[in-house]
Chain length 187, copies 2
DNA sequence: ACCTGAACACCGTTCAAGT
DNA sequence: ACCTGAACACCGTTCAAGT
């Protein structure tokens, strides 16, 4: 069970950031959850910016690994594409959290550059995966795939945010369904 | 030029909240921008929650008034619908800000209930307007209009957030264009 | 009515110093 | 290597006092 302190800090900070964002990520509460003192976090991460950047980096790495597995293990690219909205549903299932990167995108003005880079990489990873999966599934032509991938990503990001504002997962499901019936997502 | 202090506080707080959210709204900086002292704000608003609720209320009231005018003054409901994405573009044009209600939706866990109510009313106002305009424009049947209105709203919210994360208005325009070509928005 | 200085309790951040 | 006490800066809020 017990991971090393650094891993526990990363895992806990991720959950905090998904619920309270960068500004809401505070070292005293975080340290208490991990079972150390706030100052001890600075042994592992030289600053809040470094911690947040490490959290966001781990976040997109995990996402990239999951998406690769999803595409590999699905019956077809179209099937993988149909599963994609679930990855954003999990955060909502987890106490109405949202994507760490959506939260930090909102807080763009207050997030250090080193964190922004990792946040943007999360979006890049997702859009690239959508793009190649869309092409493989013949949902769009290679020419249209980039724009389509971006539209799907931003649509899902919006649906997750709107669902959070009502603490209502059914609302998320309904929005995804609407995206399917209007043609943004494949049926 | 010079409004009364209460109005100046409201107007300034709106801009701060669109850039830094509820957590980033602090009385000392706000007061400095208005040209008074932090303690003076309490003469007009008994607490931060009251100020934020007043700001959010004014925000949806202004939005409702604008949308009513847009529908009234447009050549057709379809034309009004085509103009709708511009209302979310303005925030981005204004130093990469976003909708106050999107920001506070992200901060759901940390926003007082009185503020949440006003934030939700903004979404309600927008969705209701979209719904009736969609019906009038025959973009969707009355039966489908509610789901379609919600999908359009969340799609645009997501596009605005994604564009902010790159400080790139052209990205917003591209996403809206994709929503049109995939069928979420009318062409 | 309208505004402020000064203070309070609290909290996030930092770093020199401990083991 | 790993951790912390203590100081610092800042914030929301209060209130007696000023005009």
């Amino acid at each position: 069970m017990s991971l090393n302190a650094r891993e526990e800090i990363l895992a806990t900070a991720k959950l905090v950031a998904q619920a309270h964002g960068y500004a809401g990520l505070n070292f005293r509460d975080l340290a208490e959850q991990v079972g150390i003192k706030a100052a001890s976090i600075y042994y592992y991460f030289p600053s809040k910016a470094d911690l947040a950047a490490a959290v966001a980096k781990r976040y997109w790495e995990d996402s990239a690994a999951y998406l690769d597995g999803l595409l590999r293990d699905s019956a077809s690219p179209l099937d993988a594409l149909r599963q994609y909205p679930k990855t954003f549903r999990w955060a909502l299932e987890n106490d109405n959290r949202i994507c760490l990167c959506s939260f930090m995108s909102a807080q763009f003005d207050d997030v250090p550059e080193a964190v922004r880079v990792e946040v943007q990489t999360f979006a890049d990873v997702n859009i690239e995966w959508l793009k190649k999966t869309i092409i493989a599934a013949k949902v769009a032509t290679p020419r249209q795939a980039d724009k389509r991938a971006r539209a799907i990503y931003s649509g899902i990001v919006g649906a997750q945010l709107v669902a959070r504002s009502r603490n209502d997962i059914a609302l998320y499901d309904g929005l995804i369904e609407s995206y399917r019936s209007t043609g943004l997502l494949p049926a």
